[in-house]
Amino acid sequence: MLAGKWSHAEAMIRDIGRFARFNWRVTSTSFLACSHRSTYPLVWTQMNIIGVRSVPVIMVTGAFVGMTLAIQAYDQLATMGFEERLGVLINISVVKELGPVLAAVMLAGRIGGALTAELGTMNVTEQIDAIRSMGTDPVRYLVVPRVLACLLLTPLLIIYADLMGVVGGAMVSLLHFGINGRAYWDYSANSVELWDVAIGVIKGFFFGAAIAIVSCYKGFTCREGSQGVGQACTEAFVASFTLILAIDLAIAFVAKAVYLTFWPMRGLV
């Protein structure tokens, strides 16, 4: 039994080591590939697949987040007579936390799953070996464009999610609950700072890189057969999701420390 646990731990350590090595290869190759013109069309293609086609789903996610927040928070604020400050709560939550995280989770499902399935299928049908046999580095040709596209476009997609979250929240607050529009926007404008928006967007770079690297790694290392590809997709989503939450926590710690260093504590209302 002890031997079984040890071999399980050994396999896990080996997997972590492999992932670290893969990360290093992707990072170093990305820097090198940026200086090659041939990389740009590949990145452009992936930007279209990853970014442009994700816009509708990201916008819908953002809008629903904003609307749901408005419905959930209205009663608590209304009982205290603070309903005009509903925009503060909705907009800070959306731009700082829920917009980026839920947009990233949606991307992990939409893009991460597709990346793992695509690369996993290429792996089991020997297409990745074919690329290697022709003297091309599959990390440079397949992984780097996807990572760069995700890295660059996730922050932009988060801006879309934020925008729709703000619009969705405002629609429910102003049209459904009949809150005074001027007061709603005034309170929001005074409380939501550029810092809040910037933190949400900065998270996007880390989320995008994490989703792409984890998904590509799972595709590259998936076991043979359709079951292997399916399992790799599931593992990629679970790992991406966990990593998004862990990165979110880490950035929250760092951002708070930085903010408190430069600006005094502010109240929500």
Binding site: S38, M122, T125, E126, Q127, D129, A130, R132, S133, M134, G135, T136, D137, V139, Y141
Partner: protein
Amino acid sequence: MTEKQEIDRAAAAKKPVIELKGICKTFDRRVVLDDVSLAIEEGKTTVIIGPSGCGKTVLIKHLICLLRPTAGEIYFRDQRIDHLSERALGAIRTHYGFLFQAGALFDSQTVFQNIVFPIRQHRRETDMSELEQIVKAKLAMVGLDGFQNYYPANLSGGQRKRVALARAIAMDPEIILYDEPTTGLDPIRSGIINELVLKLQRELSVTSVVVTHDMNSAYKIADRIIMLHNGMIVADGDADTIRNHPHPTVQQFIHGEVSDEDLAVLRMSGKGAQSQFSPQDFDPRSP
């Protein structure tokens, strides 16, 4: 030409283009290749035969370092390559063409895009008309000119292998590696692939290494046949040497005979100890 120059040239011609020295390969403690040493002669067609699962594909992937050995050394033209980085191996691999068992064509790209892939990766020439000429010539060589705009999904198994072969020769390689080129094809398509291997050998003077368990194909195309069994080389020679080889495993394989041990295993895997099969059921010679 002086006598010395002739001797030097003959010696150079005899020098192996690829050499494996004491290659061992294990997967999760399972030994797949066990101390395999092999020299591939330039300009010759070497055929590696052996039963399924004996390590043929693993061996051919070592020749191009798609797999790294657990122990042993790999040389390409006297340069050790098994310890090189993937980036450094990229330049070495442009000397090879590799035909994968299932073709391994990029299914999201057309036949044209598949064939120009290695050219675009390694040559600066991006002139479309020149690329079109190269693709046309390569496809004509495998008898598929006109299929440039097809996707792999729209091709038959044999056509896919021929397109994969066109892609393998796109860079005019010195060495072509074929992994089971006739597997899954009917006898006529197999014959076409065999003819193509011979044609490329004749017209391009390439060094070929073919992995197969199709003995008709092996006898037809081989200058030299190597038999692999349980990860070890058990026979090495020309077609006649293999035909008359004294090793029982070689004779059993080339005649497609089922051994008593295999039959015993099949009987054991039946319903309990009382098998419903008799040995004659598995004897390929029985009517």
